[in-house]
Symmetry: C2
Subunit: 255 residues, 2 copies
């Protein structure tokens, strides 16, 4: 079971949007993704559910009470599964601090989960802050996706992620495979191509070939509580997220 963490500590770069729509692309290919909302802001949870669960029935229950992850899953979109977030997750940083056992908590929880369920892929939506929750996601992941919203400030954020990952790899004693993904890619602006050139320079083969086009339908779909495939399957955004899925399926996770 592949575990993909979507993280960039820069805000608003398309983390939630990418988790939502990459999962929906998987569903369209008859795969079964499990989503874990790791953001105390609960944006993914609010899109996919009609009522927020109590804190004990959310990912917070796993951290606070060691509730097994499979007991926290709720269905979405027929074949998908979600472990919801809750605003109480904001306390995880202060409850736990940053010792090595807390950093591997999610990793072990997922090891146990995988003995019980058969999702193909686990997608982790992170908040724009590298605290205990996002570190849990990084330590649990087989692959990290770092979205870059085709502007200079989010490119800077991605560079910081790269620096942080290199530093963490000494601790983790392994390389975290990652891919940098240009989102909100607006071909009408020369800035988009300037950012793309720099990203190619900085990240080389780790920059995804697929780009996610700026596409207003993608921004509208959350209001309808839908992913882009349900909202408008002919939209450019749907096409791009499917292309991204195909590119990711071809990655050999050893590199």
């Amino acid at each position: 079971m592949r575990r993909i963490a979507v993280f960039n500590q820069k805000g608003g770069v398309g983390k939630t949007t990418s988790v939502l729509n990459l999962a929906a692309a998987m569903l369209s290919q008859k795969q079964s993704p499990l989503l874990i909302d790791m953001d105390p802001q609960c944006h993914l949870t609010e899109i996919l559910t009609d009522a927020l669960p109590g804190s004990q029935r959310s990912l917070f229950g796993f951290y606070q009470n060691n509730t097994p992850l499979d007991e926290l899953m709720v269905p979405w979109n027929d074949a998908g599964l979600l472990i919801p977030a809750h605003r109480e997750l904001a306390k995880v940083d202060s409850i736990f601090g940053k010792g090595p056992s807390i950093l591997n908590r999610l990793r072990s929880g997922l090891d146990n989960l995988e003995k019980k369920i058969s999702a193909d892929t686990i997608l982790l939506d992170c908040c724009p802050y590298l605290g205990v929750l996002s570190l849990n996601a990084v330590f649990a992941a087989d692959l990290m996706i770092v979205p870059i919203s085709s502007d200079f400030l989010s490119l800077q954020g991605a560079q910081k992620v790269e620096k942080t990952l290199k530093a963490l790899e000494n601790v983790l004693k392994r390389r975290v495979p990652r891919r940098y993904l240009l989102t909100c890619y607006d071909r009408r602006r020369s800035m988009t191509f300037d950012v793309e050139k720099l990203a190619q320079q900085y990240f080389g083969p780790e920059l995804c070939q697929t780009v996610i086009s700026e596409n207003v339908a993608v921004a509208e779909s959350p209001q309808a509580k839908q992913d882009i495939f349900r909202y408008d399957s002919h939209a450019k955004g749907a096409h791009d997220y499917l292309a991204l899925l195909q590119e990711l399926n071809n990655i050999d996770l050893a590199g």
Copy 2:
């Protein structure tokens, strides 16, 4: 001296962009703003300075060593002043927890500062997380500006800010004057007007009349390490931030 905190826990809504360009609008009107970068990601600091200061010469020095704020100021753009951020600020949450004395730390620091310097306005750029730093900004502010990047997810973030402020007002024993500001306002998209209608419904007279247009020059200027007025004073974004300044100057801070 007016203290304006710019906060929305939603990422990428234009907090840093608004602090930068509102300050630049003030400079263009011969006012003298002091900027305080309260984001451990240091985006504002990186735009305005050529070299990041050591942690002791940043806002972190105020929190860790009680260094007076006026000793931490550095100049920018001839007449402006900045207190730089540093990534060590990420530790402030865990060092201090959330007792009442830490929450008023910045407020008292600014009270002392105002005896020594004569800036007209202090602008606080917050990170997308409501921890000790952003709470310090809220507790110190005479006015909060909450940017909304004209999409549904950032509107939801703004609604959460409103809920949080109402809850905090019981603790603060005062109402925090605030204004909600539509940014990245793209008149080509019907979604912009849908979001605007909802914002008018939710925030009424607290929604700014001024909107900040989607304007690629605004997104390009950080790469040149410039605000929009220096980068292209004829740009729509410059015009809009000047109009925002004029609207804010007319607010009676009692409401």
